[in-house]
Point group: C2
Chain length 248, copies 2
């Protein structure tokens, strides 16, 4: 079905080329031919949508906030006309929510990979920090967006991000429970501690990402500081005594 359509599209383009050659109208470019013959309409729509999302992220790359982005600016960067935007999102807020969603998926992938890798043999915290640092660098735009709009964005965006962060902390708590790393702690306490850990992670991520790449010395200090902070937290966690009669 789709294949047939493609064949016909090609034929039509060939006709257009012939028309062009004889009448000197604008010919389809090579890229145009390539595009048209390779993908369905739905796929192309999806691709434009992704361009919009990517463009928004890239515009924030050097520290600008999402709120300061303009709709026209984003479409310009994505290479489409402003009105095209409305084929994909109702307004900029909806685009932001899509970005939050994407970031949430990314974060969950981090946990899933950690789960599959299992507990590293020794030096758990430093090992995890290095993996996390790599992860943050691999997804710097998403993480920057999330960390930056976490407290700064519109209330709508903020709530969506808070939800994702909470979700992440909960999943982390469940993992800790299953790995039996802190067997003495109740689920509520694990959750509280994971909240603290996640906040510390996000702060550290912002610090990493604000670094210019030519400061290995400062970077090393940040990593060290981050490792030590997590050690303090987990040291506190291992020493934690649950109150005999829990309130909640």
């Amino acid at each position: 079905m789709t294949y047939r359509s493609h064949k016909r599209t090609v034929k039509r383009l060939v006709k257009r080329v012939r028309r062009t050659l004889s009448h000197e109208q604008t010919a389809p470019t090579g890229a145009e031919l390539f595009e048209h013959t390779l993908v369905t309409r739905a796929e192309r729509k999806q691709r434009t949508r992704n361009h919009l999302l990517e463009s928004a992220l890239r515009l924030m790359e050097d520290g600008r906030s999402f709120t300061s982005l303009g709709l026209r600016e984003v479409t310009r960067a994505a290479g489409v006309v402003p009105t095209s935007f409305y084929r994909h999102f109702e307004d900029m807020d909806q685009l932001a929510l899509a970005l939050v969603e994407e970031t949430g998926v990314t974060l969950r992938r981090l946990l899933r990979e950690a789960r599959q890798a299992g507990v590293p043999p020794l030096n758990i915290i430093r090992h995890s920090v290095m993996i996390y640092k790599q992860f943050v660098e691999d997804h710097r735009l998403h993480i920057m967006f999330m960390a930056g709009e976490r407290w700064g964005g519109s209330p709508l965006i903020r709530r969506a991000i808070r939800y994702e962060v909470q979700h992440f902390a909960t999943e982390m708590a469940q993992d800790l429970r299953e790995l039996n790393l802190l067997p003495a702690l109740s689920m509520a306490t694990l959750q509280m501690i994971c909240g603290l850990v996640v906040n510390t992670m996000l702060n550290a991520a912002s610090d990493f990402l604000d670094l210019s790449p030519d400061q290995p010395r400062v970077e090393q200090e940040l990593v060290e500081n981050f490792v030590l902070q997590l050690r303090v937290i987990f040291l506190g966690a291992t020493q934690w005594k649950e109150p005999s009669a829990a309130k909640v």
Copy 2:
């Protein structure tokens, strides 16, 4: 000198009123008379400047970011004409820096007051949290601004805020050292821990301020969570063993 000037100003205004009465020109309003006779030019300039700063803060009250504020918007809220802005700040960034400065002063006041009050007799952490919560509510606009622009604002603003926060953490570390609450820890370690504490404080502040005032239940949970997180940190701190050969 100034007093004399005032007397003359009053006389001139009286003349103006007489002129008005006889020629039906616009008369100075009561407020105008009041203002003019009460303050010097420098004081009035300072007052307008404060109005600008306050207006900017108030516009951010329901969650908008500083970056999204317009110069005209701020002057409108302050009750002056847009061009007046330039008598006080070069641009919006400079106004933001003034706000950061103000917030820094405010934060230092918090520490000073804590220092004068001394160590509370028992339940140090919960006691401190309650004082801190009150403080955050008393200076909600400044704290909101700082917490919100901390990661979200322009690089310039972000750097200024980071500086203030670091300063605050350092001062806190010195206080802990002087109070001898954690005698086993080196200054570097104290600083690292205070960094963690300050981050946790700012996160908690953002949580407090995002609450609508009719959620006492959620508020209570937030306070509780905050107390527990600080306990974990300080529990970890008391158990901390400095490495035998410190690197830094």
